[in-house]
């Protein structure tokens, strides 16, 4: 692998995609605040892609801060730790924003433990000495990640120990760190890069070392100059590169980020490892550093509460399991125009109607949109203008996929590679007829999955 210049041959961008208004101004200047400890946290047993974890605590049992409450037993599953010290309540059911309905461990807080600045220091605060990092063995790093229950914090929550695994069959030459945060509105990663660059760099270094990468590149979009600046300062002598990419949605998709940074295309249906790349979010990298260096599990994360529908937009560090309602209350509640609450960014997040919905490891933000933001005009007929084809970053034909789903034509769906769609929403965003293409494609995917299951 040679040196391909600042962008490593990727040209800093990828084909197609869209440029939605960024709207990051709501929270872009807000430094990360630490939310006071909630009275109760609800920890869904499955917050990640893959299998659920098995609870190891019983009702009325006392748990300490950071104690293991659920063990990930399957290969693709991760552990769960208590973000507060308290008593375990009766098992409860919870429905996650993505529709998953599952049991959860509820803990009533008794001892808030660290709070405020102390907590921040414990989680992200320096110093992160880059010199002693080399003393960890790859296997050791991997185990620390496994034990800390780290999952991808960008949104999909794929267990990180599966990705950052020194024993993978496929040789990894590059670790790409995702600092794009291409979703409109969200600024959590941006703030994290500005405020805790050292943790990110340390984590990236560790993860890169663990997978045996010879190169570590952090990809950041060019609309976050402060973050780039702060990272560049923190890089120091580590040799980690910071690639500035052209702002475009969905740059944060791992396949498109690899294309933008390295100029390589992950094969259809393949994984980044197929082209020798491992990838992780900046938040994940910080969590890796914390787990390896400080032996602290993943109990808190940074989220962004933003949008015109929330009174005081903020970037927050919150314990996992806090309810969305509480976070919104902390930010001054909803404004009168608030119309839709979205867990995640507005492009790929899920609308939430229940304030008790907990924040999970994968929740990167809460966006509260107003009636003005969400245009609720009824869907019209498709006029086949081809806009969706022009913007689809995967090079699919979304309107045909939607048609296939509507008519239940699975052959058509397969012919058009429906499973390649990762639901970024670029098509539905640009559709002049306001057809909920993504929703139809999801319906089509379930049809395909069902037919394959049979």
């Amino acid at each position: 692998m040679g040196w391909f210049g600042p962008h490593g041959g990727g040209g800093g961008t990828f084909a197609r995609g869209i440029h939605p208004p960024a709207n990051k101004h709501f929270s872009t200047g807000c430094a990360i605040e630490v939310v006071p400890c909630p009275e109760r946290v609800v920890l869904p047993l499955q917050q990640n892609v893959g299998g659920p974890c098995t609870p190891v605590v019983k009702p009325r049992q006392k748990v300490a801060w950071g104690e293991l409450v659920g063990r990930g037993e399957a290969f693709v599953s991760s552990a769960l730790h208590a973000p507060v010290a308290g008593t375990v309540e009766r098992p409860a059911m919870t429905t996650l924003p993505n529709g998953r309905h599952m049991p959860a461990i509820a803990i009533r807080t008794e001892d808030p433990g660290l709070t405020g600045q102390d907590l921040w220091e414990a989680v992200f605060g320096g110093p992160w000495s880059n010199d002693c990092i080399g003393s960890y063995e790859p296997q050791q790093i991997h185990e620390a990640i496994l034990e800390a229950g780290i999952v991808g914090l960008g949104g999909a929550a794929f267990p990180t120990h599966v990705k950052i695994n020194p024993n993978t069959q496929k040789p990894i030459h590059t670790l790409v760190v995702n600092g794009c945060e291409c979703e409109p509105y969200l600024t959590a990663d941006d703030q994290l890069m500005r405020q805790a660059p050292d943790a990110i760099i340390a984590g990236a270094f560790l993860a890169g070392y663990a997978v045996g990468a010879r190169r570590v590149v952090i990809g950041v979009e060019d609309n976050k100059p402060e973050a780039v600046e702060s990272l560049r300062r923190a890089v120091g002598r580590t040799g980690i590169e910071v690639a500035v990419l052209k702002t475009k949605y969905p740059q944060g998709s791992e396949k498109h980020l690899i294309k933008a940074v390295l100029g390589r295309e992950v094969p259809l249906g393949g994984l980044p490892a197929d082209v020798g790349v491992a990838i992780g979010n900046v938040g994940t990298m910080a969590a890796v550093a914390r787990a390896v260096v400080r032996n602290r599990p993943l109990t808190h994360r940074v989220i962004c509460v933003t949008g015109a529908g929330v009174a005081r937009p903020k970037n927050l560090m919150v314990p996992i399991g806090i309810s969305i309602g509480e976070i919104i209350d902390y930010c001054g509640g909803l404004t009168a125009e608030a119309a839709r609450i979205v867990a995640g960014g507005p492009m790929m997040g899920f609308a939430v109607a229940d304030r008790a919905t907990p924040v999970t490891k994968g929740t990167s933000g809460i966006t509260v949109l107003t009636a003005k933001d969400i245009e609720t005009s009824a869907a019209g007929p498709c006029v086949r203008c081809g806009r969706c084809v022009e913007v689809c970053p995967m090079g699919l034909v979304p309107t045909k996929l939607a048609q296939a789903a509507r008519t239940g034509d699975l052959r058509l769906a397969r012919r058009h590679n429906i499973l390649a769609c990762f639901e970024c929403g670029a098509c539905a965003y640009s559709c002049p007829a306001r057809i909920p293409l993504v929703q139809w494609i999801r319906v089509g995917k379930t049809q395909v999955a069902r037919s394959q299951g049979r």
């Binding site: 949104g155 899920f350 909920p436 379930t446």
Partner: protein, 304 residues
């Protein structure tokens, strides 16, 4: 003279042609002989040809082939009914096993006003689409009421009435299209041993507290029915009826259980014809309610 020659030649030409083609085809018939079971043809003729898919095959012909080649039971055709079964049985030389009428049962009893935590939903008004969005209503098990079953029914026998899919048993022929269409799998095909049978009108497996939070009428898993009658087994906070042991003539306990239920979740449904009363058999119980609630995003590797 020329007339007779013309007539003669015509006849001769035709004769030659006929001899030629008959012998060639006769030879080909033998030389290229491929054995095909004539019973497939016969079965296909006996089937109604509606291609409704009620038997679980793509069309009548496929079912005919399956009956002959894969020894599929002959009683699968719901449209053709008894006469069709008998015809197939005659062709196949088997006893026509009496076919128990399977009819759909909607395992949800909540009407619009009973469903709590409903949020205004903006999107495609179909159950399949709405099922992929959280928060349309609090209950993740219950009927969404967008009528996918109604659209799927070829016999106009199921309708969404006040937010709940309701089967019109006078029209229903039991093809199962609604059960296949329901994305939440709350419609199952139940063996109707009598004109009316008892069924559980809820699918929610959560604990009573969680159910009360989302529904005015849903089952709270109190086990009152189980205590009153052995037909009922409560598992995962939800009773199921053992239809194998279900005897329509002896329902004393079951009716008591029905009256005991504090949420009135056990209901009597159906109106099959009288002739089916006699038709009993040891049919296997269909799986009762297996909510399959999972979005495809679960498998997506990246978001946001």
């Amino acid at each position: 003279m020329i007339i007779w020659v013309t007539i003669g030649l015509s006849a001769a030409a035709m004769g030659t042609l006929a001899v030629f083609f008959t012998s060639v085809l006769g030879w080909a018939n033998r030389a290229f002989h491929v054995p095909v079971d004539p019973r497939i043809e016969a079965c296909a003729e006996a089937l109604p040809g509606a291609n409704c898919g009620g038997c679980g095959f793509v069309g009548c012909r496929e079912y005919a082939a399956a009956v002959v080649c894969d020894a599929e039971p002959v009683d699968r055709c719901v449209v053709g009914g008894q006469s069709c079964t008998e015809a197939l049985a005659a062709i196949m030389g088997v006893d026509p096993t009496p076919s128990l009428p399977y009819r759909p049962v909607v395992h949800c009893g909540a009407h619009t006003a009973d469903r709590l935590l409903r949020a205004p939903y903006h999107g495609e008004p179909t159950c399949a689409a709405a099922n992929l969005v959280t928060g349309v209503q609090g209950c993740t098990y219950g009927c969404l009421g967008f009528g996918d079953c109604q659209r799927a029914c070829p016999f106009d026998a199921i309708h969404v009435i006040d937010g709940l899919a309701t089967v019109d048993y006078t029209r229903c022929v039991g093809c199962g299209a609604c059960a296949r269409a329901c994305p939440r799998n709350i419609i199952t095909m139940a063996p109707f041993k009598a004109e009316r049978i008892l069924a559980v009108a809820c699918s929610n497996k959560d604990s009573g507290k969680d159910v009360r939070r989302v529904c005015e009428v849903g089952c709270i898993g109190c086990k009152a029915c189980q205590r009153a009658c052995s037909l009922f087994t409560v598992q995962d906070n939800l009773p199921s009826i053992d239809y194998d042991a279900y005897c329509p003539d002896d329902l004393g306990d079951a009716i008591r259980a029905m009256e005991k239920c504090p949420r009135h979740c056990i209901v009597a449904v159906g109106k099959p014809s009288a002739k089916d009363l006699a038709a009993l058999g040891d049919e296997q119980l269909p799986d009762v309610v297996a909510p399959d609630f999972k979005t495809t995003v679960d498998d997506t590797e990246w978001r946001g």
